[in-house]
Structure formats: C-alpha cells, structure tokens
C-alpha cells in the first residue's frame, strides 16, 4: 500500500544503524579478555543448530579525519575484499558455501560485522573474522571497485530517494564542530581523493584487537569455543598506538537554525532537531520515553493529533539518536496534501509545550512502560540480535549485563523526569528546523 511504502522509505533513511535495546528472559553469557586486548563474549543457546559470529570495532564516522570522511563505512565494504589467505570475492563464497548469511553495518560510533552459520561451521566464522582483523587485503584494486559500489549505494539511498538526505541535512546543521556533522557514508569526493596509504593507515590504526569485541551467540559449547578462539585470535598483535577517539565537545546551540531543502517529493516535511545527552545517562532514557510518548503508537501525542484527529500529517515520528557523545532527537512529520508545513510545525510545538506544562497521567505513564517492555523483548529474538546486543552493551557501556538489566533504567524514569527533560532539552530557542519542500515550490 502506498502509505506503507512511503513510511518505509522515510524510515530507511535512518537504517544505517543497528538497534540498541535488549531484554528477554535472562540471557546468560561468559566474557573475558585476551592478552592482546580483544574482548570476547559468548552466549550458549541450543534451540536451533546455528551460531552467529560477530566482531564489533570501536570505529565509526566520528573517528574519521575531516578530509577523509566516509572511511569507516567504506571499510565495511573494503573488508570483504579478502586477506592474505582469502582471494578477492571468496569471502562471501566461503560463507555461502557454508550455508550462512552475513552482513555488516556502520554507524557514527562503531562498525559491526557478523555472519550466521550452521553451528558446525563455528570455526569457519572464527577464521574469517581473524583474517579480517589480522591481515585483510587493503589495496588500490579493492578500493577502486568498492568506491563505485558505495557511490551507487549513496545514489540509491540518498540521492534518488524522497527525503533520502534528511539525516545528513539535519546533522550538518546540528553539529558545527563535532564529527557527527558529516554523514556516515561520507563524501564521495573524499573517497576519490584518498590514496592507498590513507586506507592502509586507517586499517592499521583502528582494526586492532584492543579496539574490538568478538561476540558469539548460538549452538556452541563454551569450552571448545574458547579453545578455537584462542587459536585464531590470541596471536593477533595489539596495535602500536592509542586508538584515536575525538575529544571534541560540541558547544551548545546558539539559537534556532531554520532552513529549507528542495527535494524530489510531493509532500512537504517538517523536521525539528534538538540536542540530547549521550546514551547511558539517566536523562537519555527519559528522552527515549519522551519520544515514545510523542510518536510511538497510534495513540501517541503527535500521531493522534497530527495524523488522526487533524489529518495534517501522513506520518509523525520522533527518533532519538542517543550516541556516545551528545546526540540528537529528531521530531519529524510528513504533511498531508495541501497542508502548509508551518501549520504542522505549530501543532508539533503545541504538543511539546503540553508535555512541558502538564505532567502525564499515571495511566499514560503505565502505557509507556508497557510499550518499552514490548520493544525491549523484540531485540533479542535471534542469535544475531543477541550477539549484536551483547557487543553493544560492552563496547558502549562496559557492562554486558545491561542486556538483562537495562529495563531497570527505564523503570527508574519518573513522570517528573519526562516533563523535566522535555523542558530542558526540547528548547525552542535552540534547535534546528528544516522544511523539506517539493522542487516545484521554489519561489
């Protein structure tokens, strides 16, 4: 149906990311460090004879050189070009021949690689990831092929998609100094200008065991898995220098920035972006609940009024991007035919003002908690989901058991907290507001 296709197009804009939530019945795991600094997490689950082998590297677009953006994501492609012992094109063939499937994703703060394999191929997965970490092939031939593929990816997801540039246009206005200001896919010009040495250096700097988490979930035996992990990973040398992490603190927003983007669309969109605290903080959880209050479910504040009662929007969303450094909450709406975006914006501001002025009812608060509980449960329904969650919790928070305890953080948020964070962070004087207008509406 047309609307659903439209919605998935809009949502696809945000999907460079992996989801960050966890919970289920208790998820048991074992974790330890190798001497070279690699952190290992293992979860045993025999319900299906499969296993997910994954490695998360603590490098994302924010670690990039501002003149060489797009590297972290580019490496997601480049690191399938093989290694000392794996010919070009063989990486995928090996996984497929083993009956597995695989993927990778890159975000602002990290890059993640995983394959799901029949459980008798655990060692294959370990071999592949150890080759990738130890001696991946990083050369100009691979660079040249993947450059073209990444350009097509950009055209597909950003240039040729309605609202495809939404995240990029927002972030570059929200952040003036912090690396979050450039898109994860980076600049095609930077990729063109980079030389082989740049790529080799990036690999040497970031793809080192002390910058990685090996996370494995599924039909394995902990003891024998440990032996195999030791075999493949313990002799990988640690890096020679400290891994670069930017210490740039984005200064507070100075006022409201308003702008218009003309796009190949028919329906205008309104985007309002506010700075929010980094993930893991008490306020970040409160902000997430606030965003659920605003736009998750048909009875949410924005959906109910904008989409349903007043039919000013075909879609209303509130997307909290909580990251390692201060993040952003993006409230957005796609206007219905013939609706002036300024009217939609006014509605959004009124609804946010209501949250600031009136404490939510106990019933509505209970609803929020039920919604969060449901969301959390869904993230760990598969070995792939569990492996990623375990890695995320360790890498970002140093506390892998959050996969079981994170729900408590949500449960400690009070109604007053939700009102407080609305007042503190959804500041109308300091935000970015973008209008997406059809090209035909240019003055």
């Amino acid at each position: 149906m047309q609307i659903k296709r439209l919605l998935s197009l809009v949502l696809a804009v945000f999907l460079y990311a992996g989801s960050i939530s966890a919970q289920a019945n208790k998820i048991n795991f074992v974790e330890y460090d190798l001497d070279n600094g690699l952190h290992v997490i293992l979860h045993e689950d025999h319900s299906t004879p499969i296993v997910t082998v994954s490695v998360m590297y603590h490098v994302g677009s924010k670690n990039e050189n501002p003149d060489r953006t797009g590297f972290a994501h580019f490496f997601e492609h480049l690191l399938f070009e093989g290694s000392e012992n794996i010919d070009r094109g063989e990486f995928f063939k090996i996984i497929e021949n083993a009956g597995g499937s695989n993927n990778a994703n890159t975000f602002y703060d990290r890059t993640y690689y995983y394959e799901t394999l029949p459980s008798n191929h655990l060692e294959t997965g370990l071999w592949l990831e150890s080759e990738r970490m130890l001696q991946a092939r990083v050369d100009i031939e691979g660079v040249e092929t993947q450059r073209e593929v990444v350009k097509e990816e950009r055209r597909l997801r950003v240039d040729n998609q309605p609202y495809g540039s939404l995240l990029e246009e927002t972030m570059k206005r929200v952040y003036k100094e912090h690396p979050y200001r450039w898109p994860v896919i980076g600049s095609m010009a930077h990729l063109d200008a980079a030389v082989e040495e740049d790529y080799k250096q990036f690999y040497a700097d970031f793809y080192v065991p002390e910058n990685a988490v090996l996370s494995i979930a599924g039909d394995l035996d902990i003891k024998s898995a440990k032996v195999l992990i030791d075999k493949y990973f313990s002799t990988i040398p640690a890096g020679v220098k400290t891994v670069y992490r930017p210490s740039i603190v984005e200064p507070p927003m100075q006022g409201e920035t308003r702008d218009t983007v003309y796009d190949n669309i028919q329906l205008p969109a309104v985007i309002q972006a506010y700075r929010i605290p980094s993930q893991g903080t008490a306020d970040a959880y409160a902000v997430e609940m606030l965003s659920t209050l605003l736009a998750v479910g048909n009875s949410s504040r924005l959906s109910k009024r904008a989409v349903d009662q007043e039919q000013m929007a075909v879609f209303a969303g509130a997307f909290p991007l909580a990251m390692e450094d201060d993040g952003v909450l993006i409230n957005y709406g796609i206007a219905n035919m013939g609706v002036d975006p300024t009217d939609l914006e006014r509605l959004y501001d009124e609804e946010v003002a209501k949250v600031k002025e009136e404490l939510i009812s106990e019933k509505e608060f209970q609803k929020l908690q039920n919604q969060i509980e449901n969301q959390i449960l869904s993230a760990n329904a598969s070995t792939a989901g569990i492996a990623e969650s375990l890695a995320n919790y360790h890498m970002y928070f140093g506390d892998t058991d959050l996969i079981n305890s994170e729900i408590e953080k949500y449960r400690s948020v009070t109604r007053e907290d939700i009102q407080r964070v609305a007042r503190k962070y959804l500041d109308f004087e300091n935000r970015v507001v973008l209008y997406y207008l059809p090209k035909g509406q240019r003055p």
Binding site: P49, E96, N97, T124, E153, Q266, G297, N298, S299
Partner: protein, 690 residues
C-alpha cells in the same frame, strides 16, 4: 665467542620465529567443518472450528510473547475502476466497532504495548502473552462488529491520495506500477494500479460490501505463533472466533495471462533521476505446487537469489554498476512471474540490461558446474536452517501445506529433494522458465540521459513511454513541418534575428539574487572571441572571479589569485559566446541537436531539444511553442541536474533577454537571478578582460 653466542642466540630466535610461523599455517586455508547438525522442523498443530476456520498453532516459549494472524483467502478479482478499495476496506475495518471508536482501539492497543493492524486480506496482532486476552478481545470485536465510520473513510482516502502523489518521486513505486500493468494487463486482478481517479471513485459502501461478502471463516486461517499451548489456543479460538458466521463465498473465474510477443522496452521518465531502475520481467506459470517448484527455486537462487548469484556477481562485484542486483521466479497460485532487477547509474543502463540478458542466456545454454551447484545447495541448506530460528517459518510451512494441497512431509523432505537435484535438472528448469525473447524490459530513469540507448533491445526498435501509474503515453502532438532547425531559427528570430545577434561582440551583464545571506551579485562578460569574465560578490566583497583572455586566464578567490590551466581555460570558453545557439549546428561544437518531443514547462507547451556537445555535455532545452522563446535549460552533470528557467524577456537595444533566471540544482536552495544591467558592445571592452 661472544659473536658466536649472538649468532646462536639469533639462530634460536629465528627458529622460534619459524615455529611461530609454522603454527600460523592453520590460517592458510578454511578450516574443515564439524559434522552437519540434524535439521528438525518444529511441530505445528492444526485444528478446525465448526464454522470452518482453520487454526494453526506453533508453540514456542522462548519469549513470553504471542502473535495472531488472521488470513482470509479472498479469491483474486480485479478492482477495476475502483483500484485500491480492498486496501482501504481493510484499513477502515480497524477504525471503529459498535463498542469502541478508533481512539479507544488505539489507546487499548498501545496501553498493553501491543501492535495491531487490519488489511484487505485479514489482520495481525502481537503482544506479550500475559495480554493475549485483551488483544484477542479487540481483534474479535473488530472482525465481527466493524462500523466503517464515514469520517475515518475520508481520512484514509486523503492519506492514500497523498501516498499516490508521492509515487512520482519513488522509482520503486513507479517500477511496481508499470511492471504490474505490463506483466498482467490492467484488467487482471494483479494488474490494477491505484490512481487519484480510482481512489476518488470509491465509497464507504464498496468497502463494507467487500468485507461482508468475503470475510468468512470457512475460507480463513488463524495462525498463532508463540507462547500459547494447544489447550489455551483451542479455548481462545472458540471464545473469540467461534461465533464468526460462515457463508458462501463467490468463486471468480481466473483470467488468462499472455506472454508478451518479442522484447518490449518500456521507459518511464523520472527527470533528474541519478539512477535508473531496470527490470526484465514476464508472467510465468509457477507455484508452490508445481512439480518442479524446488528446482525452479534453486535455479532462481543461482541466477539472482543471493550475494554470489550470477546477476550480483556480474553487475555489482565485477562491474560495480549497482549496489545490488537480484532476480528469479516468484511463485503464485493464480499466475507467477519472473523478474530480474537492479538500480544502476544512468550511464550504464543499457549495459546493465545487456548483462542481465546475458546471464539469463548463460543459465539456459551453459550447464552449471558441480562446484557451483554444490555451493548453492549448501547456501540454501544453511538458509533453511537459519529460517527455522523464527517460529513464524514453521507456521508458514503448515499454512502452505494446507493452502497448496502439498504432501504433509513436503518440508521435512525439502532438503532431501533439493540435494538430489542434478545439473541437468537445472538446465531443464532454466530452459523452461527463462526466456529473453519474449519479455518486458522496463526502465525508470532520466529520459534525456538514457532512453535512446535502449531502442536496440526492442524487437520493433521502438521504445514505449509510460507514466508513473502504468499508462501508455501516446505520441505527444508534434506539429508537422517542425524540426530542430526551425525551433532554433524561430528562437533566434524571436530574440532579435540572426543578423543582429551576430553583431554582438561583447555582452556585459550584471545580475543580483536575494539569498538568506544577503544579496549576491553576479557579473559576467561574454564575447565572440570567447574571452570571458565571471564574478560573484556580495556587498562589494568578491567571493570568486575568473577572467579568460586569449590563451591566458586567472581566478581569484579567498584572497588568492592563481593562473588557470589550459584545461580550465578551454572549459571556460565553452559557455563564453554571447549566443551559443548560433553555433548549434556547427558539428565542431555539437555532436547532435535533436527535437525530442513536446512537453509542458510550467503549464506551457514547449518543444524539447536534446543536445550533446562535443565535450560530452548533455543538455536539454525547452522552447515555447507559442512564443519561440527559450523557457528552460537542464544540464546534467556529476552532481545531478542543474535547471535554469528563463522568464520575463525584455528588450535590450533590439535583443530580447530574460530578466529573471531561476537556478536550481546547483546549490541546496534555488536562487533567482534578476538582471540589473545589460551593456551590448561596451566601449573599451578589452579592458574588461585584464
């Protein structure tokens, strides 16, 4: 002695290193896998209620949640002129019952953190197992006592129309519309396309009758997956769905679908598109109960069903035309189809089609190697196992067995059957199902860049043009006795006449544009000698200046001045003549200048001219049929399309020039340049180029 010790010591070190390397020998090759685990399909239970509702239960207690899917096997029929009413009826059904209005339904669902949706083919809900009674109560109420509120109907209609308008900008939506129209025909149940007209023709009673006539338990299935046992499932099914009344459902005669004759190329223009979405497609009898279903499925995987497929390896890994190419057979009880598709950059649209057809023919003509067959079987086996992680897969299996009248052990035997398929079986399936002689080749993209290169694929050498909603565009009314020459000479006459224009040696212009940063000033000088000046400034401060004088030139900007390279100088000269149109038929400057058709520009009928310069640039221009004036120029480059609209022509010493130029595509926001002054053949012109 010391040296000997050192050498010995080194020798030991070397030996140790050698050992270390010897240990790492294991990295050289892929490790051998352990013994393959046995793959077991979980259990499902099937039972029927008295009213004919079939219930499938897959119990899985891993997580404390449960989902309920109600599927109605509505016979396929065409919505005709009211295309879209089935979807709307499904949506409307969930918008109010005799006891709850929409707000109450929404509130109740959200309160338990559940999800719930209604469709033209049924409904779906999921929740934590502790809330299943609340969810089922709502689902049951919606199913049996919907009221179809008029106000909600209007809302859905409005939202649907918004979505339809958006189709024009979505290459995927356009491709879906056009492909469906071509492959099935617009009269076929699968061939109807929602349009503004069809949606506006729908009434609430259409929606209500649809649900009344077709939503009957005797053609429906309730699939329960998750944390619920058989006893509870039986109780719940009876309690919430037992009172649903059975009834006769009309059976509708299926329509025959014909294969196309020859190769038919269809193009849909999406101006400014930077990628072409290309597809090869045709209808094909292929269903889950085809005798060679599994072979056809395996063959599809080889061709375009995984990363290592023929299509993906060729178009992405080898040639980097695309981010991903895929294709294969799609089964359907009524009529299946074949489709191969990819989104590729404009310049390789034709090459991509060549490669797609090549790969299809390779599958037909060259048998697979045993190695490749073995790899794809391994892939599918693993995939099958991974699919079993999700209990929904098991439910689908159970449902398919009932719906398609398959053997009870179809899925438990699936891998055995698949592993027995031979290279010959695959060849037979390829010959049967793949065909590059009778198909549709569909491209959604930028017409001026792409369309012409596609005629070679068409059996009649002619490309058909369709709009975003699957309607054929008849040849636009082209007046007789008009060709590229007449359009250009009419234009030159309208702006002053060839003679007068040729007397312009130097043309000096100042323009200004209001932007958020302030007023931007543009200054340019064009000349017959191809000397040129361009300057952009604001409030007297120069941002950028470029001067070309003969074979020399310099540029200034950000406090720096540098000489222009010979390449930059010749690039600057390309646009340096005051009236480039005087040279359109000079083959040293333009490879081709074609009259491409009639189109509307800002509601005005215009001739479309496609030009290709000798430096490779592609330009599209539009000249008003009524006034002969140039209305628009579109130049497509690396960054996309730059569009200039020319308005309010005024007389300058007998020469007509546009005083308003609207530029878009070059910067994030469009700008409107207004002419401030024009000087023709200024005195001391040579001073300007210093």
């Amino acid at each position: 002695m010391r040296i000997k010790n050192i050498i010995v010591a080194l020798g030991i070190t070397l030996c140790m290193s050698a050992n270390l390397f010897a240990q790492e020998d294991f990295r050289k090759n892929a490790p051998k896998p352990g013994p393959a685990p046995s793959i077991e399909i979980g259990d499902s239970e099937v039972f029927k209620l008295d009213n004919g509702l079939t219930v499938v239960l897959v119990e899985n207690n891993k997580l404390p949640r449960v989902s309920f899917q109600l599927s109605v096997d509505v016979p396929d029929f065409s919505e005709g002129e009211k295309a879209g009413y089935v979807n709307i009826a499904g949506e409307l059904m969930g918008r109010g019952t005799e006891s709850m209005d929409k707000a109450e339904i929404d509130e109740s669902i959200d309160f338990i953190g559940a999800s719930f949706q209604t469709f033209g083919s049924g409904m779906f809900g999921s929740c934590l197992s502790k809330n299943s009674e609340e969810l089922l109560a709502i689902m049951s109420d919606v199913l049996m006592y919907p009221v179809f509120p008029e106000a909600e109907f209007e809302k859905i209609k409005k939202a649907t129309l918004s979505g339809i308008a958006q189709t024009k900008n979505s290459p995927d939506a356009i491709m879906a519309n056009v492909r469906r129209t071509l492959v099935y025909g617009s009269d076929h149940p699968f061939g109807s396309v929602e349009t503004e007209e069809s949606i506006n023709a729908i009434s609430v009673s259409d929606c209500k009758s649809y649900i009344d006539v077709f939503f009957k338990p005797n053609i429906s299935y309730l699939v329960i997956v998750g944390d619920m046992n058989l006893a509870d499932a039986k109780l719940a099914a009876e309690k919430y769905f037992g009172k649903w009344e059975m009834g006769e459902v009309p059976t509708l005669k299926p329509m025959r679908v014909e294969r196309p004759e020859g190769v038919n190329v269809v193009f849909v223009d999406q101006p400014g598109a930077v990628q072409s979405t290309v597809a090869v497609s045709y209808p094909m009898d292929y269903s889950l109960n085809s005798s060679d279903y599994i072979t056809g499925s395996l063959m599809s995987t080889v061709l375009g069903g995984y990363f290592g497929s023929r299509l993906n390896q060729n178009l992405r890994e080898d040639k980097a035309y695309t981010y991903g190419a895929r294709g294969g057979l799609r089964p359907n009880k009524l009529i299946g189809n074949f489709v191969a598709s990819a989104s590729v950059r404009n310049e390789v649209s034709d090459s991509s089609i060549t490669e797609m057809l090549y790969e299809m023919n390779q599958m037909i003509n060259e048998p697979l190697t045993e190695g490749e067959l073995s790899t794809v079987k391994n892939f599918r086996t693993g995939n099958f196992a991974i699919g079993l992680e999700n209990p929904r897969t098991i439910a689908d299996f159970a449902l398919n067995i009932i719906r398609y009248d398959l053997d009870a052990d179809f899925y438990s035997n699936y891998l055995k059957v698949m592993n027995a398929i031979t290279v010959e079986d695959m060849s037979v399936a390829a010959k049967k199902y793949l065909n590059t002689d009778a198909c549709y080749v569909i491209v959604v993209g930028n017409k001026s860049d792409v369309a012409e290169s596609l005629t070679k694929f068409d059996s009649n050498g002619a490309v058909d043009y369709y709009d975003a909603y699957g309607k054929l565009i008849e040849d636009t009314k082209m007046p007789l006795n008009v060709d590229a020459n007449t359009v250009i000479s009419d234009y030159l006459n309208a702006i002053g006449g060839k003679e007068k224009l040729e007397q312009v040696d130097v043309l000096e212009m100042s323009m200004a544009a209001n932007t958020e940063m302030g007023e931007l000033e543009f200054y340019m000088v064009k000349s017959k000698s191809l000397n040129t000046v361009q300057k952009i400034s604001m409030g007297g401060m120069t941002f950028m200046k470029m001067v070309v004088n003969g074979f020399d030139g310099y540029s200034e900007g950000r406090g720096m001045t540098k000489d222009l390279s010979p390449m930059e100088i010749s690039d600057a000269k390309v646009d340096a003549a005051p009236f480039s149109e005087l040279n359109y038929f000079n083959t040293e400057q333009y490879n081709s200048v074609k009259l491409a058709g009639v189109e509307k520009v800002n509601e005005e009928d215009a001739y479309r001219m496609d030009l290709v310069r000798t430096d490779g640039a592609s330009i599209t221009e539009y000249y008003s049929i009524a006034s002969s004036l140039k209305l628009r120029k579109v130049q497509t480059g690396e960054q996309g399309a730059v569009t200039l609209d020319y308005e309010v022509y005024k007389d300058f010493e007998g020469i007509m020039l546009p005083t308003i130029i609207k530029v878009s595509g070059m910067m994030p926001t469009p700008i409107e340049q207004n002419i401030k002054s024009v000087v023709i053949n200024p005195k001391n012109a040579s001073d300007l180029f210093k």
